[in-house]
Symmetry: C3
Subunit: 313 residues, 3 copies
């Protein structure tokens, strides 16, 4: 594996899930693998889980961790080719990526969608810029269009809590006061396509995700119908993709409730707006897997780093 | 010990002081204790001494340290119960505390008083929220109402420099251009109540600290009289508690001078406004213990972490 | 060596260059030297290369690294003597420097020129304040007037790529949209004065650097003439020194091009404005040494830290 940019960089999801679960039993078992290896975590956006879990994963592997809030601590980056850099940007992605490659063995990057310009977001200039110009492996810690460390953690969580060989999994849109990116939903969909499951996506009309990603997935606009006999319900808000970055609905009828959830397990990537996205009763009840998901972020990142380190050696 | 939230979490101050002094003689003697243990330092406010000394204490114990400036790097926290989170806050303290607990073994938190709303400050929602919902020990790195790592460092410093079995210790209010919290003064008073000492608090009228804390302590409004035959003078500004968060006086007659200090040792937690809180001659003279106090912050934190680690194992 | 504040703290440049090149062959060979030693990196300004390379250098030596963005995470510093600190500054450099000295073994500091007040910038109050009051070695990670870690990395790079015993080296001013400090140019000039080379400085009239620094150096206002038969061309913008901090010219005739460069090697400290300071063809061509320079920042810092650690032991 050269980089971990999307869920499609996983060659075999079941194998990876098994390996991650094995890793979890003894987190420090490969602590020699990362010895004298350094990972640089570059944040262009805020983070709690991703920051701490990726750092912890690297610590488990014996790596050194260098962290930068690129926006506030570094230089404004230029991405254009042939630009006359006489405006606000101080450093070209070519130099930034190449230079960081001189100082570490793996780069991990978080750079969210701006949700203003679809083409620009989909070009993923930060992530792809680093992947193009860095001479070392790049890990996606959530980009404009994907959050594959989250989706892999979700796969681990589903595997750990599943009781059927082919569970029913529902991705259910939820209301939210702010426009949120599609990254988590996209990667979850991509991951589900690699699973043996009955997978349904439910959301109000106008909230269709990128068809290139959901192609082949069942979409059911009636949430109640979608949720019938679900084993896992993954709740998540995203803004409109068609009417890019817009909030078309804040309809609290889409809020997940204990009643709607039935006997299914509840999943969410966090942070979550209580009583908007999901009611307290669900989050505080024992069907919630959100802490398992958060915990699995460590082992998701750790397996990715382990595989990258093995390929470096 | 479950958490270290206030000076009252110390079971025996003399024993702890002795242990800290022993620790100081060979700071790395327990470096195996923190092996494969991680502390997360969460800052909601600025810090110099607390940040570096707590980090150093953890390093001495062989721990891994993860640091977050929660305000700028994380998500705005919600504390209310049952809130519909459709406003500015993105993550509930329940999730934040539980999630951080998944990634580390001890959490240390700094969250100052806002000095606008006494009830809110005294509710200590950040510190108490983490203590309530985290599944791991929480350490107070200065909260709205207390700074017990500072007060314990002060106890160590007094023990190291005392020449009498029952010294006279004076807490003397000082002027300051800005409204400051009561945390340092509160914890110092609480710590002094655990000491065998003649303890006097002196301040202008209107600057009485919370009576629940100073109950039983001698308060002398005449600074000169309070300072007579003092062995240690702890100088500190705080804003009014009664007229909450207000600056009632900037009277430079309360500034500590070499003349007033006499033969006493001078103490202050730093940072200090020179020639407002205390004149240069005192800080630059050899009766000042401020660097000893700063240095003892390492061993104060280290003993607290050591005790928490011993209870985890 | 007490501190590393300027290039003139190097006792023998050829010996240091040789030692750094040896270090580079096995970066972890002195990893025992920094064991149980801590470096604190204090940033008053942004940084990418300096931050990561100095951190990496310390890791190579087995040191613990504590990093602070002093501006946003710490307290506003006061530098005046005898000041009544009743204004915006919260902590005096005397306390800050002494306190940080309690927590680590080496302090490294970045504090840029403000370019508003020449006398104030040249007083170097942050760097010199720490050097004056700290009780431990201080390293300059770029100050108002110098960037000696960069200049030493440049010396290593020239030594590695030189083919003549006395190469021709040209420092060529370049246009830039913003007013930049003189630090990099100053230290490069000081370093070149310690080299056996034919050294020429070229810039438009009005861009003369501090004569105290360039004294004895050849200055040629005709860029073309200056560049004739050059072996190394170091391109850098700086603002006017005489008309302090002003941008007198943005003349793109001074931009470095492949044609002007001829067969010389191209050097720049980065970050660099593409097609303003230098055209793409040069940066993307194989005469560019910018990545070698960036990589050598690690070994420049590492040799400095190694020498300081050896003197501590």
């Amino acid at each position: 594996m050269k980089h971990y940019l999307s869920i499609n960089d996983i060659d075999s999801l079941p194998v990876w899930v098994d390996e991650a679960i094995t890793l979890k039993k003894d987190p420090y078992q490969f602590k020699e693998l990362g010895k004298q290896k350094t990972i640089c975590l570059l944040f262009f956006n805020n983070s709690l889980r991703t920051r701490l879990s990726t750092q912890k994963a690297a610590i488990h592997l014996g790596m050194e961790v260098m962290i930068m809030n690129f926006g506030s601590e570094g230089w404004a980056l230029e991405f254009g080719d042939g630009t006359l850099m006489d405006q606000g940007t101080s450093e070209h992605i070519k130099e930034a990526a190449r230079v960081v490659s001189e100082y570490c063995d793996i780069i991990a990057i978080r750079a969210f969608a701006g949700l203003k310009d679809k083409a620009k977001d989909e070009a993923e200039e930060v992530l792809n810029g680093f992947a193009k110009y860095a001479s070392i492996p790049v890990v996606n810690m959530e980009s404009s269009v994907g959050h594959p460390l989250q989706a892999f953690a979700d796969a681990i969580t589903i595997a750990e809590h599943g009781t059927k060989s082919k569970p029913k999994v529902v991705l259910s849109w939820a209301p939210h006061p702010k426009a949120l990116p599609h990254a988590v939903a996209n990667s979850f969909v991509e991951m589900m396509k690699l699973q043996d499951a009955e997978f349904v996506i439910t959301h109000p009309e106008g909230y269709e995700l990128n068809h290139e990603i959901t192609k082949g997935c069942k979409i059911e606009y009636n949430q109640k119908k979608a949720l019938e006999n679900a084993d896992f319900v993954y709740v998540k808000n995203w803004s409109s993709y068609t009417d890019y970055g817009k909030v078309l609905s804040k309809d609290l009828d889409w809020t997940m409730t204990q009643e709607k959830l039935g006997k299914a397990k509840f999943m969410h990537c966090l942070p979550v707006r209580r009583n908007i996205v999901v009611e307290d009763a669900v989050l505080d009840g024992n069907q919630s897997l959100v802490l398992d998901q958060a915990n699995n972020r460590v082992f998701s990142a750790q397996l990715v780093l382990k595989k990258l380190l093995e390929d470096i050696k």
